[in-house]
Symmetry: C2
Subunit: 207 residues, 2 copies
DNA sequence: GAGTCTAGAGAACGGGCGTTTCCCGTCAAG
DNA sequence: CTTGACGGGAAACGCCCGTTCTCTAGACTC
């Protein structure tokens, strides 16, 4: 289909645009990257970009949606190889690998939420991403033998978000390791054998 | 000094600009707010703004610095009224109050870090803010009777960051309550009386 | 009351943005 | 070979940005 391009025949147009957008949006921020920069990086004409994605906002949404899908797929595949509470700990091992990548620039969804106060669609995708991740953690928490899996999942979610932000803002790769040990401590406290009075004791202080 | 203004005599110029910048930058994002909007909100001329802050970047830095100072001062004052591990829990109570404010728009420093990939000065201030907060948590952790206060402070920091992000991205006010109960659980597990083998057990899985 | 200084209003400028449009060269079909 | 669709390159449009500059009106000093 596409002439002069030795790569995959059809996927090239929309795919190359989305690949370029992902690289640029993630590393430099959505607002700092212009459409011209995306088409230059993709080696594509403006007309092609606007034929596939009708505006920059739509392109941003497509970028976030694909990133969400790939993130969840990879994490799920990594967790599927393990059982019990190792599934939970695998999440933090994956975070550690992610933070060590040279291109790491924090969580794209958090960044977009902080950057695009207008554009409700993008913020909705960010929210959906977090809820999907929370559901994934809930499944892992149920695999671990704890008294209250949903509470554990909420706490794990806090640790994951905190680790990502800390690794990015403070430039601290080891945040994943610390979050992992904190997750292990929370699982131990929440297991029926240890400290089973902790959740209720904590709950009675809620205002 | 200032004619036609019944308010405080001298502080009006720079203060009003900084107040306006804070309101606008925090609620709408730095990049989405133009200089014109700031001067209009402040009721001030462009010349006055550029006389006090020599560029928008400098204004952003002043905005972040003042916010950092006020945030730490208020939190410290709130914690000073309590003792022991109640000092730690007060942090999460403060978060809960903050999340319930209608103007809540997440952590300004996280937002700026995700928004301004260029502008190293702003990102440095964000990093310093997080390190100051971490130091404050370390002091609170030492007040609580736990075996390893620094490790507890690191974990509390993860919970604080996670709660802020969750409250903002997912729109979940109760993230502060969940983080508080998680903090209480971690303190119970880290206290000499309970589960004192947890930290070492967690540490041996670090890669 | 004249002079000076201050500070707000707004024009001007150079540049970048998102989006549309036009001009080509290249390929495929007839 | 002719025709037409396609797509990259680039110009053009209108708009907004950060920054500088000019103008003007009021307030204080002497």
């Amino acid at each position: 289909m596409t002439p002069l391009s030795p790569e995959t025949p059809d996927s090239s147009a929309a795919q190359r645009v989305l690949d370029a957008a992902e690289r640029l949006f993630y590393s430099r921020g959505v607002q700092a990257v212009g459409i011209d920069m995306v088409v230059a990086e993709a080696g594509v004409g403006l007309k092609t970009l606007y034929a596939h994605y009708r505006s920059k906002d739509r392109l941003v949404e497509a970028y976030l949606r694909r990133l969400n899908q790939r993130f969840l797929d990879r994490l799920q595949a990594r967790m599927a190889q393990l059982q019990g509470r190792d599934q939970v700990l695998a999440v933090f091992d994956a975070l550690g690998d992610w933070f060590a990548e040279p291109e790491f620039s924090g969580c794209a969804f958090i960044n977009v939420a902080g950057e695009l106060h207008t554009n409700p669609a993008a913020r909705a995708i960010a929210r959906e991403h977090k809820q999907s991740l929370r559901a994934l953690l809930q499944r892992a928490a149920r695999a671990a033998a704890v008294t209250d899996p949903d509470t554990l999942a909420d706490r794990l979610m806090l640790l994951v978000e905190g680790a990502v932000v800390t690794a990015y803002v403070e430039g601290d790769e080891l945040a994943a390791v610390r979050a992992r040990s904190a997750a292990a401590a929370l699982m131990d406290c929440a297991s029926p054998a240890h400290c089973d009075d902790v959740p209720s004791r904590a709950a009675d202080r809620l205002q």
